[in-house]
């Protein structure tokens, strides 16, 4: 039975019983979906009425779960029931059924008795349904239309000034940018994103700010405009109240910018944050790419990543090339390093890590040098030359001198005998080093603590708690919210 036939079926019989005799498996699913969508619409309606942004964001968080199930038939059915004819003009353009635009004649839909009741809908509901429609167009690879539709959607959303539109609006921009990216046309939307960002700052809309900042950064980095991206980060402030996923994205972009500018310590910290803030269950693509950058940045700081990090679940295969790379850096073998880079060149190019990897060359030399320094108390420069595979003694001399200056090794070059003499190792525990390490750990714990305190939410003091009924309802809602928050994996997947 085709989807359109199901619609007919539903139209004629009203809403069938969930397990009624007429419902085949397919139409059963369809009905459930329609029911779910209608419930969401109602909740949004309620959320707008009570100005409860959390309730609304809960619905939006579910978008990820709904998206794969979405059919134009179901969406069409809901649109017909909830929106008036003028409001649904958007859908008659972009909602397709078997390649033909769907007819959106709401007046003909007489079979729905409650349609008149919900005729006066808030614009948020309409925006929500349009959002789903755009998501569906993208999922169905109908990209040309998705670009058009998303443009129309953000124009629609931008018309409203109410705070209740913020969440939907920010997501609208996400799909807008996504559609353009998939059609390889990211550059043209930059002015519009910048204007939208300015507006969201003026309106004190943190959701929009976070989203738009990330979209802009992604946009710049896509074209490798690290200079612009860096300036944007420096001149803006990432909003404090934002979802973790947005923060994870932001940290990732920030890490990449810093890595390009050789600020490896900060880059490593940002990437680490990104990985921590990312949802643990899903968003595998995101976590893998962050992990890759982290390995390289870590090696650039002179550390060798932990072996266990390569064995994470589902990541082992994707991280394979990076494991080999790490091995070659660890042993300090230049020729092995060159071979690995050549072998996986295409992988590194695709991951856009290539330019960072070329910088690893000097680290390979440094680790080699460090090993030599540890094993010999005195060694001639000529021997260093052959061991590191350098061309000339002059070159080795420069390399060693530089390493000593960068405090990679603790040694002295004796010019008369042309040799490198290691200095005695000092006992680390007599220095401030342990105190520093201890300090950074304490600092980390304290930061987590204060972060947790800041993230706590408290019930409104003004709320009338005497009404037990209302209280119970609120508690239930909060539980549901907590549940969705746990499941919240949102659409981080989407970009990676």
């Amino acid at each position: 039975m085709s989807a359109s036939a199901i619609v007919e079926n539903v139209k004629e019989n009203g809403i069938p019983e969930p397990n009624g005799g007429i419902a085949l498996n397919g139409s059963n699913k369809h009905d459930l979906l329609v029911a779910e969508l209608r419930k969401n619409v109602e909740v949004i309606d309620l959320a707008v009425g009570t100005k409860d942004s959390r309730l609304q964001s809960r619905i939006l968080r579910q978008t990820r779960i709904i998206r794969p199930k979405l059919t134009s038939a179901a969406l069409g059915a809901v649109v017909k029931r909830t929106l008036s004819k003028e409001e649904s003009s958007f859908f008659s353009k972009y909602l397709f059924e078997n390649g033909v635009a769907m007819e959106m004649d709401t007046t003909a839909d007489k079979k729905s008795p409650d349609s008149s009741a919900s005729m006066t809908t808030v614009p948020e509901v309409s925006a929500y349904l349009q959002l789903l429609c755009v998501a569906m167009l993208i999922d169905n690879k109908n990209l040309e239309k998705a670009v058009e539709a998303s443009t129309e959607l953000i124009e629609f959303v931008s018309k409203f000034k109410s705070r209740t539109m913020d969440d939907i609006g920010s997501r609208a921009f996400f799909f807008y940018a996504r559609a353009h990216e998939l059609t390889n046309n990211l550059a043209v939307i930059r002015p519009r994103l910048l204007t939208a960002y300015r507006t969201s700052v003026l309106r004190h809309d943190p959701t929009g700010q976070a989203m738009l900042l990330n979209l802009l950064l992604r946009n710049y980095i896509h074209y490798k405009l690290y200079d612009q991206a860096d300036k944007l980060v420096q001149r803006t402030e990432f909003p404090e109240t934002r979802s973790n996923n947005q923060l994870a994205r932001f940290m990732y972009f920030d890490g990449r910018i810093k890595a390009i500018q050789l600020d490896y310590t900060d880059a490593f910290e940002s990437l680490q944050q990104a990985l921590r803030k990312a949802p643990q269950g899903t968003a595998l693509g995101f976590r893998i790419i962050v992990q890759k950058f982290m390995f390289i940045v870590q090696m650039l700081t002179g550390d060798i990543p932990d072996r266990a990090a390569f064995r994470q679940q589902y990541m082992e295969k994707a991280l394979g090339p990076y494991l080999e790379l790490t091995k070659s850096v660890r042993v300090g073998d230049l020729s092995l390093f060159k071979d690995v880079v050549e072998k996986y060149r295409h992988v590194f190019m695709r991951d856009e890590t290539m330019s960072l990897i070329t910088r690893l060359r000097q680290n390979v030399i440094k680790t080699g040098l460090r090993k030599i320094n540890a094993s010999y108390s005195r060694i001639s420069l000529d021997d260093i030359c052959t061991r590191l595979g350098l061309e000339s003694r002059e070159r080795a001399e420069g390399v060693v001198a530089k390493a000593i200056r960068d405090e990679v090794i603790d040694a002295v070059i004796d010019y008369k005998t042309m040799s490198m003499r290691s200095k005695d190792n000092v006992n680390t525990y007599t220095t401030v080093e342990p105190a520093n390490a201890y300090h950074s750990r304490i600092e980390f714990c304290l930061n987590i603590y204060s972060g947790a305190i800041r993230a706590m939410r408290f019930p409104d003091a003004t709320e009338d708690e005497a009404n037990t009924e209302a209280r119970r309802k609120r508690l239930k809602e909060e539980q549901e919210l907590a549940k969705t928050l746990e499941e919240d994996e949102e659409d981080l997947e989407d970009d990676f």
């Binding site: 290539m354 330019s355 070329t358 420069g398 002295v412 004796d414 010019y415």
Partner: protein
């Protein structure tokens, strides 16, 4: 309306003058300014101009050529700020208009020169930011490869290779920036020597620092505060005792600061 033919002949004149032997710099500068004024009059440079046909390409190409020559001219005048300005203008043509303009012959040269200058000024972070913008296929270009290799030598510490590269510049316009780079390299070498050697003979130091004469070497050593004795240079290491005192003082204060900080935080938690 801009007069395309007029501009064209002016640009041709400019090219002849700048590329020719012994260019009259002040004359060239005047001409550049004149061309720039004429270019502004073209409708293609008005805001919102429609730039999508072969007709509108002409003034754009002329403008690009002008700025390329202006960049070359600023090297001749040893005007570094001016060079950066011209390159900033040129980047619009190279990157943003790449879809509507035919590629320029001088593009790689200008990019390479800019990279070299960043290197010479020791702006390594900026160097890498700019490098990211260069597409992979251009990186094998003779001009572009040159600064990329130099950067690798510099971070590795292969100073001898750097000095050798001085005689292999791929184009004569590299020379000025290359000289700037040499000074940067000399300072780098000097810093490395200070920490790596206890003492050096004159001959060795002169070779490493790439200085022409002993007098130059002596002058340079004096500037850096090295001690000269019996044709050897002794590098003044931090006098242990003195420095340690200050170090301990610093770490003591740091320790106090930290402890206070922990106390405040603990107070807040309990």
């Amino acid at each position: 309306m801009g007069d395309i033919a007029g501009i064209q002949s002016m640009v041709a004149d400019l090219t002849k003058m700048v590329d020719g032997p012994h260019p009259d710099l002040s004359k060239c500068k005047d001409l550049v300014n004149k061309v720039k004024i004429e270019l502004v009059k073209c409708p293609e440079f008005q805001p919102g101009a429609y730039l999508d046909n072969s007709e509108s390409n002409k003034p754009l190409i002329l403008a690009r050529q002008t700025y390329e020559k202006a960049a070359g001219l600023s090297i001749l005048c040893q005007d570094i700020d001016g060079f950066y300005r011209n390159v900033a203008l040129l980047k619009d043509f190279y990157f943003d208009y790449s879809s509507i303009l035919p590629p320029s012959e001088s593009e790689t040269l200008v990019i390479a020169l800019q990279l070299l200058l960043l290197l010479a000024e020791n702006q390594v972070a900026k160097f890498h930011t700019e490098l990211e913008l260069i597409p992979e296929e251009l990186r094998d270009n003779v001009y572009v490869r040159f600064p990329i290799e130099l950067e690798q030598f510099l971070t590795e510490g292969s100073y001898s290779e750097l000095l050798a590269a001085k005689d292999h510049i791929p184009e004569k316009s590299f020379a000025y920036f290359m000289n700037l780079l040499m000074e940067t390299v000399r300072d780098e070498v000097a810093k490395s020597c200070e920490s790596a050697f206890d003492e050096l003979t004159y001959a060795a130091a002169q070779k490493m620092l790439n200085l022409d004469s002993v007098t130059e070497l002596e002058q340079y050593s004096m500037d850096r505060g090295w001690i000269l004795e019996n044709s050897t240079i002794r590098f003044v290491k931090d006098v242990e005792g003195l420095k340690d005192d200050r170090k301990i003082e610093k770490s003591v204060f740091e320790m106090i600061d930290r402890s206070l900080h922990y106390a405040v935080e603990l107070e807040r938690i309990v």
